[in-house]
């Protein structure tokens, strides 16, 4: 029982990170019908930028943790936003209206470029960060010394995700900006006819997705303490799987899918084998898609119009 609860907590924390990245995939897909394969790299850039900020501040003698975290957050979000905006501008917008696979190919190109860029400039070795937020709450102490621990880092991850998700849902569902975003998703031509600047809305979608990925990148860095240029690919594939599992195009779906993938991975590692956790995640994806082709919360393509 204790073991189960511990895995559950670990799974939710991991799933939160996947969910935040998955939102970027699902929003971009929703608005321009394209899988932004460079999105995982945005997450990786977020990690690297925040590590650089951490080291730079450390060199300047600034070690007050809350301040450091806030500066990390701001700088990482700004950098990834700029990156997301630029990628859309140079690699996707010129290809809008061309055949469907073209932006997919440039997306993979952007992803390879970014991975290699970071590998060349930062080196291929893993970058460690000593644990910054240690300790936690012991929720339960079972027989045989098995304890259920909720670390402060996990609390931060889960709380941040909940706050971000709430804010984000509000933005999309209740504000004028969110309505314009959804309008572009449903009928870009009509949105333009109502005076929506469609190009700007699409850019904004990339920026929003990228800044959430930056937050995920920081949390990953602090949680695991090691990053390398390849983490974006792995996390990107997982988050993409999460988005598809939850129903691509659906925001709650992305979050749910992220949690599901996180939990499947952790439980599989905990009870069966770590080596096969990815197999488990992808198998469950396959099974879900056989019975629910549009994912858990996705809507079917056909609509009454």
């Amino acid at each position: 029982m204790e073991y189960f609860l511990q895995q559950l907590i670990n799974g939710i924390a991991l799933g939160s990170i996947y969910g935040l990245i998955a939102i970027g995939y699902t929003m971009v897909y929703g608005i321009i019908g394209m899988i932004n394969f460079a999105h995982g790299e945005v997450f990786m850039i977020g990690s690297f930028v925040s590590l650089s900020v951490f080291l730079a501040l450390g060199a300047l003698g600034i070690t007050f943790l809350p301040l450091v975290l806030i500066v990390m957050l701001i700088v990482a979000m700004a950098c990834t936003s700029l990156w997301g905006w630029t990628v859309e501008r140079v690699a996707y917008r010129p290809l809008r209206g061309s055949f469907r696979l073209a932006p997919l190919i440039t997306a993979i190109g952007m992803s390879i470029f970014l991975q290699n860029f970071v590998q060349v400039t930062q080196g291929a070795r893993i970058k460690p960060l000593p644990p910054q937020i240690e300790g936690g709450l012991t929720l339960m102490e079972g027989p045989g010394g098995i304890t259920v621990q909720l670390s402060y880092m996990q609390i931060i991850i889960i709380a941040t995700t909940i706050v971000l998700m709430a804010g984000f849902s509000y933005l999309i569902n209740k504000t004028s900006l969110g309505r314009q975003q959804r309008a572009c998703e449903q009928d870009r031509k009509m949105a333009a006819l109502l005076g929506v600047n469609v190009d700007r809305t699409i850019s904004l979608t990339f920026v929003l997705g990228a800044s959430l990925a930056a937050v995920a990148g920081i949390m990953y860095l602090l949680y695991y303490g090691v990053i390398d240029f390849y983490i974006g690919f792995i996390a990107g594939v997982k988050a993409f799987t999460a988005a598809v599992l939850g129903g691509i195009g659906s925001l709650p779906g992305a979050m749910l899918g992220g949690l599901a993938i996180g939990l499947i991975e952790t439980f599989w590692s905990g009870y069966f084998s770590v080596e096969y956790k990815d197999v488990a995640a992808f198998s469950i994806l396959a099974i879900v898609l056989i019975f629910l082709p549009s994912g858990l919360l996705g809507r079917p393509e056909v609509e009454k119009v």
Partner: protein, 250 residues
């Protein structure tokens, strides 16, 4: 000649379309089209399916842009402006097929119509639209995609009105609707024109209703304007009667 028509000569048109040509790739959809719409008028463009009427409507809004010719709104050249800039000049369109946002509520659809407007005007405008189409008020929490065709048409027009347009472009509002609803919608257009001075450019296949409603009309065949005159004049023409009114008036 009608009063409106006589007043035209000494005024600049609200909307002037001058020798506009539009292409889809290599296919030419509009051939040197000239249309004038003066302030306070209802002008209609009638023509068969595929004549290029909707293309003209969309060309006015810059999507697609005209390859040749000029579109002037209050004397200002808007031919090369992006769509969202054209629409910010007090032009609104209720497009072909209504294009109601299917996964937004009626209320949200109306809010989308008002994004260019001052927020303080919103409640007033909303009340006006609900007065014109009480049905929309009843359905305000319902998703656009679940409305009937007539309700969607009302929503499309209401949404266009939410931006306080001077010029309303209406693309086939009667398409696929029951005669009673068509009558209702045309009555609303007439009222808006008469009471608020709203200028309307209406594209229709339903020639009889459209010509009776409009001050002036144009006939489009294969992307060219072939005839023009007041609504009554066109209704009396044999060519119009045989081509567009065969089978009798509804």
């Amino acid at each position: 000649m009608s009063v409106a028509a006589q007043q035209q000569s000494d005024r600049t048109p609200l909307l002037a379309i001058r020798g506009v040509e539009t292409f889809y790739g290599k296919i030419q959809a509009l051939r040197s089209v000239d249309v004038d719409v003066y302030e306070g008028e209802i002008v209609t463009m009638i023509g068969a399916n595929g004549a290029g009427k909707s293309t003209l409507m969309m060309t006015i809004c810059g999507d697609p842009q005209a390859r040749a010719g000029q579109i002037l709104y209050r004397g200002e050249d808007i031919t090369r402006l992006p769509t969202h800039d054209i629409m910010s000049k007090s032009i609104a369109q209720s497009p072909e097929g209504r294009r109601v946002f299917p996964r937004m509520t009626v209320m949200e659809n109306l809010q989308m119509g008002a994004i260019l407007e001052d927020e303080k005007d919103f409640d007033d405008d909303l009340r006006k639209v609900f007065d014109l189409f009480p049905r929309l008020k009843e359905r305000r929490g319902q998703r656009g995609g679940t409305l009937s065709g007539g309700e969607q048409q009302m929503l499309a027009i209401g949404r266009a009105l939410m931006s306080r347009p001077k010029l309303l472009l209406l693309d086939e509002p009667s398409l696929g609707l029951a005669p009673l609803i068509v009558k209702q919608i045309f009555e609303v257009i007439r009222e808006l024109n008469r009471n608020e001075g709203l200028t309307v450019f209406l594209v229709e296949q339903n020639a009889f209703h459209a010509l009776r409603l409009a001050h002036r009309g144009y006939v489009m065949v294969n992307g060219s304007v072939t005839m023009t005159g007041t609504g009554a004049e066109l209704l009396a023409r044999d060519e119009v009667r045989s081509a567009y009114l065969e089978g009798g008036a509804h």
